[in-house]
Symmetry: D2
Subunit: 338 residues, 4 copies
Amino acid sequence: MPVLPIWAYHFAPNVSHGTQKGMDMKRVAICGASGYSGMELTRLLARHPGVEVVAVASGRWSGQSVRERLGIPGPTGELRYQPTIDPATEVDATFFATPADASQELVPTWQREGQPVLIDLSNAYRADEGWVYGLAEYAREQVAATKQVANPGCYPTATQLGLLPLIRAGLLASGPIIVDAKSGVTGAGRKVSDTLLFNELADNHYPYRVGHHQHVPELERQLEREVIFTPHLIPARRGLLVSCYVPLQAGKSADDVRACLAERYAKEPLVNLAEPGDTVGIGSVAHTPTCRVAVGPTVKQGYARVFSSIDNLLKGAASQAVQNLNLSLGLPETQGLM
Amino acid sequence: MPVLPIWAYHFAPNVSHGTQKGMDMKRVAICGASGYSGMELTRLLARHPGVEVVAVASGRWSGQSVRERLGIPGPTGELRYQPTIDPATEVDATFFATPADASQELVPTWQREGQPVLIDLSNAYRADEGWVYGLAEYAREQVAATKQVANPGCYPTATQLGLLPLIRAGLLASGPIIVDAKSGVTGAGRKVSDTLLFNELADNHYPYRVGHHQHVPELERQLEREVIFTPHLIPARRGLLVSCYVPLQAGKSADDVRACLAERYAKEPLVNLAEPGDTVGIGSVAHTPTCRVAVGPTVKQGYARVFSSIDNLLKGAASQAVQNLNLSLGLPETQGLM
Amino acid sequence: MPVLPIWAYHFAPNVSHGTQKGMDMKRVAICGASGYSGMELTRLLARHPGVEVVAVASGRWSGQSVRERLGIPGPTGELRYQPTIDPATEVDATFFATPADASQELVPTWQREGQPVLIDLSNAYRADEGWVYGLAEYAREQVAATKQVANPGCYPTATQLGLLPLIRAGLLASGPIIVDAKSGVTGAGRKVSDTLLFNELADNHYPYRVGHHQHVPELERQLEREVIFTPHLIPARRGLLVSCYVPLQAGKSADDVRACLAERYAKEPLVNLAEPGDTVGIGSVAHTPTCRVAVGPTVKQGYARVFSSIDNLLKGAASQAVQNLNLSLGLPETQGLM
Amino acid sequence: MPVLPIWAYHFAPNVSHGTQKGMDMKRVAICGASGYSGMELTRLLARHPGVEVVAVASGRWSGQSVRERLGIPGPTGELRYQPTIDPATEVDATFFATPADASQELVPTWQREGQPVLIDLSNAYRADEGWVYGLAEYAREQVAATKQVANPGCYPTATQLGLLPLIRAGLLASGPIIVDAKSGVTGAGRKVSDTLLFNELADNHYPYRVGHHQHVPELERQLEREVIFTPHLIPARRGLLVSCYVPLQAGKSADDVRACLAERYAKEPLVNLAEPGDTVGIGSVAHTPTCRVAVGPTVKQGYARVFSSIDNLLKGAASQAVQNLNLSLGLPETQGLM
């Protein structure tokens, strides 16, 4: 008597959609729909009022319906997973929620004159000149003008949202930037591995890939600064926190740091700055498309602390991909996310 | 540097609502808005396209805004918690997410000729003849015809949804019905108690209130049968499973049980029957308004097993209260829930 | 930079044993030493003052030392895992902490005139007439007189310790016995399976193998009664609780049940009866060799409730195996366990 | 039907001690025996072969027996908690596992000519010149020569064990030292507080007391260096990890750091250095008296990474206090700890 996986049935299966989806819906396809990011993407897009999912691909679930696997009702639920999607399928956009090597195989088959918007969630194209690096809050115009968006990694998203305003405002001095990062276990993807078993992770916490995490080059390229980055696993399913230690220009205070972030994010719908004295926990951003940033109250030896937290599967992957879809297709940026 | 509570910021604070709420919105008030059920209710109603929340009461949070405490954007976020709500406030419905004794004090101040719909989530009025017991799937017409709805308890909701069809179809023989029930820790409410500390509950599991749980009389009244009921705590935040052992009439099989449930729930949007061979876990109903039911594949010594699982804070409290609101005000039953 | 598994380094590696182990130490070997039960067994025996571990077998860890894998200091730590152990090795006892099919292959190679004591932890020999079923508290003399001990399963151990006194005292009437059982995830063994991932089990709880768990025949054979048994997973690493619903003879009370258990277990070092009004949780037996039993305060429809809890890896496997070793070799029964 | 707390019954209650405790046992008393550290201390000392516990104090549990609260068998279990202990009681040593303000009230009543050894676990006397700061591995002779030992805090213990050898060997350059620290929730003590509820901590992770943690002055005094220290809570019951970022002298490598630690700790029974390529997790030190240290494989911008992990309640409190007791009374340093 197999149990349905924990991610299933987050929708009621027998219900017809309240919102009738309109005539000029954007058509989208999802490759890699059975990974954690692909599942979140499918859920978000099924609810998106401006989008119609027309194809989902997954080797693992080939032949099964989205309703059966994710419990999603309505037309998206009726779709069946295909082993692959024909690149000739008529769509406005295609997501690649696939590992980097799979993206590198698949994407070229979709590239052509008049291609749909391609949004890749792996790190295959983040350094590629033909692609826009889709950190949504910092690349709105470029994303709107391209057909190739490389969605940022989860750690780089949180770190950049915390540090970019400071770097651009010239608040940081030279000197090492330390980023001590912690992530829930879905950050490691949906591998069936000994180290991801409940009995190994519950009650545990440790650093991993110290000195050679794949996100470091991406982060340094984007920040245009070296970063001492160390990821750790925490015994939670989702959510990610980066604790950043940054050298300030002489005379700058924690209040200056906070003011800089406050000004930058005052009108951002999906980045939220903690009040002075408040802090940030992964529990308050899990299951949301929001990034929450906090600044430590003191400066010591010239260093300030900036904390930034997101849901690794949403702002760190699927919901940021939807932001990029919206930007790229001319829909309201947060449509389908609230 | 206090941390925001884990339930905060499940909305992005700076965003204006996409959906413009219309002119003929129903006006509702929430008493007891800072308990776990009251917070879920506030979240659901803030998103409900047919409802406008006009007042929220909480002694604990008096003076603070909904945005500050729950991170909810838009007009609901602007509301400030009041110590109490004037019963003369013009509303279509008022929720009481208060403990039973508080409900018994508050409700009478709202009762009058032409009163709004009163929906009480405590057990204060579940046995009261002037009230309709709002197990939504079994009381649609009565709820639509009353102004006083007693929202069922969490354990009784799951148990009745699993067993009522069998009792009504005459499938059950006499003989003891065993209900072994397990709940995540929010089932115990938002008390600051030694037994609800992380260090006491993590890695733990035990029965509690054995032989004298407050839900037993409610359950037996509704089922019109005696029940041997034993609740247990599980180290999870939310979700509830009842494992029911029921005596069948001679000659009846597990397939008969399944067929009976399948027929009853074929068209129910919020009750979902597991496929033969599948089972049910709290992980797949948590954060949903859905009840999921499964039937064990065998009958032994005349007994069948029926499993029923809900989110204790949603179908076991807040989302069922919204179902009752919708039924009572003539809105589509699942509006605001999908 | 691989992380050491969570079960490692529960000993300080550089320390020489305080207790000098004596000359007439019993020599033991462990097959299947890298499963969860085998690891616990290795830990217990390394500390056992009357025992010397002379060989450990594990395909997975072949060539590595016990110190490297488990962090155990002293002579046991110096042992290296072998792919297999030569049955001609001179030992007083051999443990088989192997799956049933592996036990069935290995055990016959050790059986001979003058063989060592064989203690099998799988269910391969529990129904075998040439073997003693080693529920220690109920089989002391038989274990002392045999060279072949089949160690009981975890669920059957807890259930029998709760119910055998009542059955033997004639307190139970005919009628179904319901055993609703819940176990931490190590109960499923050390498989690398999708369903045992942290992300699938955290926040989850569900029944499994309903109607066909491998422990049912063992349980019914031992109790000489039919049992309606349903196991469930709880999101904890170790510990097991059975909630048993039993029909009493007419006129019998919960006090009679408690008195019967109290008398039986008054002098048992490793079975502990909760005081009236107290209950039992897995948190208080985890990491101990003790079984804790509690009786519900009321009888309803002729049914009483008996709760029994153990650590599935200790009293449900490794520590009971050590009890059996001690009984069989003439050592004090709880030696090495306190 | 109250449930026994999770920390109870980690001993089998009816068992007589295997080891007969000898005639020249050291007599000890414990003040503050019902806090988390006090409970661990009681458990350790009950098993200590060279020690007899003669008095335990707790306001909360006054009148109850140690057996009732902790399930400890034998003579220690028979002791009853007293509201206070008469300082004239004839003992060799007294532990104060009390908050700092309580220690400051109690300790002076015990100070006199010929007083017993006083071991205080709070931060009341760590900066006091009349006391020895009992970081056991670094203060053996001083502890052996004093009657007043201030037991180090948990974060400072882990951090010093990781960094002191590097500082003393002159390996560190000037420049900020960053200590990003993470602790399980028992680090916060046994307060009944809203923020320590299961529902607030499960699935959560956040920094706390940023910029003003009480351990910073202790740490800086001991290291004779400024430290940028930030503690975080992790959703686990026990265990603590510090991730330290330290500036190296020019030309020094990660191998130099490792070699320095390897030399210093080669013969330390309770400090264990991870092999090159291995790392350290709290899961492998929880429930042990051991500190485990690892060094990141690379140096970047002149910075190395040192990770150090302990059980906050053992090496960070109770087991280090027992080390200090042993040193101070002339017993083998690790007696009672293995």
